[in-house]
């Protein structure tokens, strides 16, 4: 199965800024890896159910007891930028002019 990948599109989905050299290299490598990976289709018949977790767990509950959470100062301690007890980021929404 020949695999064609729009590297720029996938990089945009992944929020990954790539250099031209990286785009060229991944454009060569990813199809080769995916062609090999696609061999899973040779044995994955319709009557084989998928497994997401090898040891299935469902409905894992805990007691609804309040516990202390991470204090604000600790939550902010690793932030690249902070201001007034919040994470500071570049503008997300344009201002009305």
């Amino acid at each position: 199965m020949a695999v064609r990948i729009d590297i720029e599109h996938v990089a945009r989905l992944a929020r990954l800024a790539l250099t031209a050299e990286e785009e060229e290299r991944l454009g060569r490598q990813l199809p080769a890896i995916l062609e090999h990976a696609a061999t899973v289709g040779e044995v994955a018949a319709d009557d084989v159910p998928p497994t997401a977790y090898a040891i299935p767990r469902s409905n894992v509950y805990r007691e609804d007891d309040p516990e202390p959470c991470l204090p604000q100062a600790e939550a902010l301690a690793n932030a690249p930028e902070q201001e007034d007890g919040r994470f500071r980021v570049v503008r997300v929404v344009e201002r009305d002019r």
Binding site: R15, A17, A44, A52, N78
Partner: protein
């Protein structure tokens, strides 16, 4: 050849010495510190050293011991942790620029349990970035060198942990194993590497790579130490919803039972093309020893094992692309400067902060999960998991444990496979099946190749079959009686 020092002994041996009062915890920790000082400049196992943490712990233990109170077998034993395991107040980088300055506000459960029992932390070890790799060459902070030959890789991704144990820098270490990242470096570095049953050890605070496959494992100098260390970290943790609600048995109880009557299945598919002749011969002759010791040896087959490598390279990158979405430059880690909007800030942060292998896997996973491709790739790969689980179920009806080489090769040269991702991925061909099926497996040294490099043999057992793994591995280890001392240590 210089004589072994305290840091060269096993954890069980040291615990007995400590209990008998023959040595102090401070002497043990100082022995480790001296070894790190003399060899880590050439090995490069550590990203962060924590001598003050270990010495303070040792002093507490020594003060306590004078009161005669018994201490846990891990108390005072020098430990290293792979740098994907969160340590409160101690930098945890995942071998990545994007987390170069990250200091976790909490401990992972595995370390919290060891710390609570008196374990002495010497530092955080180098690894492939976000545990993605089989050679430790994908670390943003440089390679780790194999103590058996400094021009060769120690394996990966837990390469720093394996090398530190092999070189006597610590007595034991924790690593993580998603597709072989504890067992393969153990094999290449001549130590014992255990990947427990999925969910037996809490993943809380293990920085996620592929959540359905990630496990915390042990790197030790013998099988007994693996049993001791596992017992200290295993068990249900309410902070990890996938952790198993299973009772943790006494792993030492059956350790010395031997292999008489044990049904040992040799995996037929694991001795074919691509396996180095010395590796094949060494594992075969170890199997002959098991036979001589009274095991019932037969041939086992895992017909779908060949499909687990392609399945793994869909499942692991898919889960990674989702897990690594959190590194967006907002709450922690690196942030690119000067972006004009948030999308550009995130894309440039990730473009500058991640290395080539992590980018490759994020791209693979993003593609495999994207609209129109999900069923053909991720959906099909999950079916292979079902087939692999069935293969193991069939094999374990006939056998108690399965045997194969851990890795098709011994340690390869630094740089040898770095430009060929497909060749690199083949390192994990015999270790990946256990991760996909969630079953436990252990790598134990079984000999040296013609160049004097260690060879590892892998035992695999059914879910929660750790006791039989330890029993088989320990019997082989006793019978072979290998003395594994890397040439590097001749001069220290």
């Amino acid at each position: 050849v210089s004589s072994p020092e305290l840091c060269d002994l096993t954890g069980s041996h040291l615990a007995a010495e400590l209990a008998g009062g023959g040595v102090s915890a401070t002497e043990v920790v100082e022995s480790s510190l001296r070894r790190i000082e003399s060899v880590d400049g050439s090995v490069g196992a550590f990203l962060t050293r924590t001598p003050e943490v270990a010495l303070e712990r040792a002093a507490e233990l020594d003060a306590h011991r004078s009161t005669g109170a018994p201490q846990h077998p891990v108390a005072g034993i020098p430990l290293a942790l792979k740098d994907v395991l969160s340590t409160m107040g101690i930098r945890t980088t995942c071998g990545s620029r994007i987390l170069e300055t990250y200091v976790p506000p909490f401990d992972c459960t595995a370390w919290a349990r060891l710390s609570g029992r008196g374990s002495a932390l010497l530092g955080k070890t180098n690894c492939d970035e976000f545990a993605m790799g089989s050679s430790n060459e994908n670390s943003a902070f440089g390679p780790v060198r194999n103590p058996w030959d400094l021009e060769r890789v120690p394996g990966g991704s837990s390469g720093g942990s394996a090398a530190a144990v092999a070189a006597g820098e610590v007595v034991w270490a924790l690593g993580t194993d998603t597709g072989g990242s504890v067992r393969q470096p153990a094999s290449l570095s001549g130590v014992v590497g255990l990947k427990p049953t999925y969910g037996l050890v809490s993943r809380y605070g293990l920085i996620a790579f592929a959540s359905s496959l990630d496990t915390v494992g042990t790197l030790t100098r013998d099988v007994r130490d693996a049993a001791v260390l596992l017992e200290a970290i295993a068990g249900k943790d309410p902070r990890d919803a996938t952790s198993l609600d299973a009772e943790v048995p006494d792993y030492l109880a059956g350790l010395d039972r031997g292999v008489g009557g044990l049904r040992v299945g040799v995996i037929a598919e694991a001795f074919g093309e691509g396996v180095e002749p010395d590796v094949r011969d060494s594992v075969r002759s170890a199997v002959d020893r098991l036979d001589a010791l009274g095991a019932e040896v037969g041939e086992a087959s895992l017909p779908h094992a060949a499909y687990t490598l392609p399945a793994y390279y869909l499942i692991a990158p898919s889960e990674a692309s989702s897990n690594l979405a959190r590194y967006d430059g907002v709450r922690y880690g690196y942030r690119a400067e000067g972006a004009s909007d948030s999308v550009e800030m995130m894309a440039r942060t990730r473009g500058e902060g991640f290395g080539p292998e992590v980018k490759r896997r994020i791209m693979l996973g993003t593609y495999a999960l994207s609209a129109g491709y999900y069923e053909a790739y991720y959906g099909q790969a999950q079916k292979v998991r079902t087939l692999m689980i069935r293969d193991y179920e069939a094999a374990f009806e006939r056998f108690d444990v399965l045997v194969s080489p851990t890795s098709p090769t011994t340690a390869f040269r630094i740089g040898e496979k770095v430009d060929d991702p497909m060749a690199m991925y083949l390192n994990d061909i015999f270790t990946i099946p256990a991760n996909l099926a969630g079953v436990p497996a252990i790598s134990v040294p079984c000999g040296l190749d013609a160049a004097g490099l260690p060879i590892g043999l892998q035992f695999t057992a059914p879910v929660l079959g750790e006791p039989v793994l330890f029993r088989a591995a320990s019997a082989l280890e006793r019978d072979l009686g290998l003395v594994l001392r890397p040439p590097l240590l001749a001069g220290v």
